[in-house]
């Protein structure tokens, strides 16, 4: 019996591993999709169960019952809740048209609803504010990782010495300070009292790089300083733990240079849990750094979310919550997959 060309008679161990990995990734992605569906359902149900009537919020203080009812029909709030949810999900993929005739308007896909408060499609509002939040998150993330990992490693390598003690004091202060306090302090001192920088007026980097940088530098520093404190502690502990591992001692015994041992053995081992936490923290930040954006007047998604709360702008509230949830689920999935790739034991469980 001859085998068909191209079909292996048996799978090599490497192929088994590859199949296991693909299965693992597929499973994680499927789970993420189910989770997202559940999150969207839960968020929409919360929205529907709130005592506020979204139709009554559409026409200001001169609302009359018939107008409220007309808007209820126009926005589809007259339908049973399961139908509303179906229309909402459908809108994400196909877009959604509200009303009929001359007064009809459409929110193209991915439609997350329409804000009567701001007279704009929710996805458009999120589209405008998300880049600000993304730039803020990315800059702060890079800065806090550099600061946190750097000082944490330094403290571990000088365990018990003044560098370690100083780092310990600074991180204790850092983790206990609230964001709004640090933000205001930085803003008041650098911009208002010392006048080293002009008051931040956000512009996109493509429009005006100078304004972008002057608007972002203080929020980056504020977020980075506060988050770096936790990462310093985690890194310090991770490095100290790794330094006691056999493979590190082996490297030292082999006569490798200290720098090589630290870079190739210690940090690589210590950074695995940090990457996991960092991924989740970064995703949470993408959902909106509410306090930082408010203090520094950055028109980001966090401020959009908080405004939707104060204005009872329910469609925006649902939209921003859902987008934030998507980032968290995505980050979780990516971290899981990376973990699975790095550590085969995880995917075989």
């Amino acid at each position: 019996m001859s085998a068909k060309v191209g079909t292996p008679l048996f799978y090599s161990p490497l192929s088994y591993l590859r199949i296991a990995l693909i299965t693992f990734i597929a499973r994680r992605l499927l789970f993420a999709l189910v989770l997202l569906a559940a999150v969207s359902l839960f968020t929409y149900l919360l929205f529907a169960l709130l005592p506020t009537d979204p139709a009554a919020l559409t026409c200001g203080k001169n609302c009359k019952p018939e107008l409220i009812e007309a808007n209820r029909v126009r926005l589809g709030y007259d339908k049973p809740i399961h139908e509303q949810y179906f229309q909402f999900v459908k809108g994400i993929f196909t877009g959604r048209t509200y009303g009929t005739g001359d007064i009809a308007f459409t929110c193209p896909a991915p439609s997350l609803g329409y804000s009567f408060n701001q007279h704009e499609c929710v996805s458009s509002l999120i589209g405008k504010t998300f880049p600000v939040t993304a730039f803020l998150s990315l800059g702060a993330f890079i800065l806090w990782m550099l600061l946190g990992v750097g000082t944490g490693t330094l403290a571990a390598l000088h365990r018990g010495k003044w560098q370690d003690r100083l780092t310990s004091v600074i991180t204790s202060i850092g983790v206990s300070l609230p964001t709004f306090y640090v933000g205001l302090l930085v803003l008041f001192s650098v911009v208002i009292w010392l006048q080293w920088l002009p008051f931040p007026h956000y512009a996109s980097p493509s429009e005006n790089l100078h304004d972008f940088l002057t608007a972002m530098i203080l929020p980056w520093i504020t977020l980075a300083v506060l988050s770096a404190a936790s990462y310093t502690r985690i890194t310090r502990n991770g490095v100290l733990e790794a330094m006691n591992e056999d493979f590190v001692r082996f490297g030292v015994a082999k006569g490798l240079k200290n720098r090589t041992v630290i870079r190739k053995y210690v940090l690589r081992a210590a950074l695995i849990p940090i990457v996991t936490i960092a991924g989740l923290d970064f995703a949470a930040l993408l959902g909106g750094a509410i306090v930082t954006e408010s203090v520094f007047s950055l028109p980001g998604m966090g401020r959009l979310a908080i405004r939707s709360v104060t204005d009872s702008d329910l469609p925006v509230l649902v939209g921003t919550t859902l987008v934030a949830a998507v980032f968290i689920v995505m980050a979780n999935t990516i971290v899981d997959i990376i973990y699975g790739i790095l550590d085969p034991r995880v995917r075989l469980k």
Partner: protein
Amino acid sequence: MKRRIIGLLGLALSASLIASACGSDSSSSSDTAASTDTLAIPGTDSSTPTAGGTIHILSQLEQITHLDPQRNYTGSDLAFVGSTMQRALTSYAYAPGSAGSQLVGDLATDTGTPTEGGKVWSFTLRGGATYEDGSEVTCADIAYGTSRVFATDIIVDGPTYAISYLDIPQDADGNSNYPGPYTATADQQALFDKAVSCSEDGKTITFTLSRIVADFNYTVTLLAFSPVPKAKDTGEKYDMAPVSSGPYKIESYEPGKSLVLVRNENWSKASDPIRNAYADSFVYEFALDPAVIDERLMADAGDDQYAVGDGGLQPENLQTVFTDDRFKDRRQDDYDPYVSFTAFNVKTVSCVEVRRAVYLGLDREALRTAGGGPYTGDFADGFVKPALADDYAPSKLPEGLNTDGTPNIESAKAALAEAKTKCPDVYAKATVEGLKFFHPDTPIWQKLVSIWIESLKAVGIVIKPTAVEPSKYYPTVQNEETDYDISRGAWGPDWPNASTMIPELFLTTGGFNLTRNGDDPAYKQFETDTKAALNELDRKAQGKKWQALNQFLVDQLWSIPGTFTKAQDLWGSKVGNAYRWSSSGSFLFGELYVKQ
């Protein structure tokens, strides 16, 4: 049409202030002004206004609530939009102090001509006014602008006086038969065109009202009666880019970020006797943290020297700003438009002696201290604020009332003893059963209500508090089914005429009458006198009538006066004309100038 109920936070802070003699307790601030000498008014000085420069307005809001003239309604927004971009038929004089309440023609040559006793009003247009594209402002544009108010599904949040006043039939539910210009049929449009018409030469616009409105010329100061060119009307979206008829136009507008106004080259000073338009441009900066605004104004550096805030100072900074001489030339502590009050349910507290006992025995000073101290306001002596110069006269307060706000236990007990014989049922309710006091469920009110209970306990009056969730407070106390004996409120006029205060608060048809006073023996007389005042065309004579009615209300004590509430401002050292305009209770933004 009734509005400007003070926000619950402001209410909570100022609500405790119940008492006497306006202005008698303003020693806390040397900046409080009531002088006819404009130089004594904060924000005015001897410098000569000069043209040029940029004025910055720092705001914690995300955007101007509405730029669309027909949707614009709050005092600060009206002052900003009205003084920069939208003209109306009439306006108030652009002047500090009480002169700022004087009615003057804007697009109209004068303050209008009433006929049929005030049922028909005509305004002759000045001519020469143009929009930012250079096209002429026409009578038809003013009529069209007014018609937009009726499109209540699109033009939301604005004042609806046009719907209430114009002689257009309504259905059984009180809805106008005219649905606004966007959906009206030819027949429906004809209803509006009959009520608002332009003369053949287009120089006179005439409003036919469904009843006498003696101060309709004040009503048309509202931008709801401003012109909108039909061809440029974008409905709901007009709010973001209205066409300017004033000295400035929009250069850029990004809610959450900024609004930049620059000069409208097609505005002509010759057609506009009111506006001076000193600054070259305005930059409205949105979404700033209130603490940041205060700190920037105090630091007074860079562009912030040319800045004003639009939301007043934060309470934590008042002590610093008003005790530090660095700020003495750029701060003000002055009245805002509101009057706070405590309303009795006159159906259940039908005995004036009991109401007087409450007034005399309440520790108003303790309440004011708990609410924030003298910065929250002066003890009011009635329901008409001194800023309504024609309608205000000091009231004669109940005998024995301590002007410093402390309780007069003896006088209160004497009033209660009178009640015991004159109205034993209400006396028993007040002293045994207890008076049900509905208040917002906020931390500050938890403190205030304990002062109410303790201070009136000394008189022998029992207070039974009921806390109401703050967002439901007004709907609750405005519900006829709610069985309170005492409630709280505050109100500001829609224009400088007590016609938007006294009838709103005390007529049974008023928009914010919490007193349920319709069955009181004195009500018929009050109603007759109020209607006579409403129909009085002679403004001076009308003012006298409001003064008498204000005294009548203080005598009846259906409500007890709280405070003439105040607000505090700070501005940059190079801002001129930073006075508080009496008609809006805010800066007159368009008149601000950059000091050289």
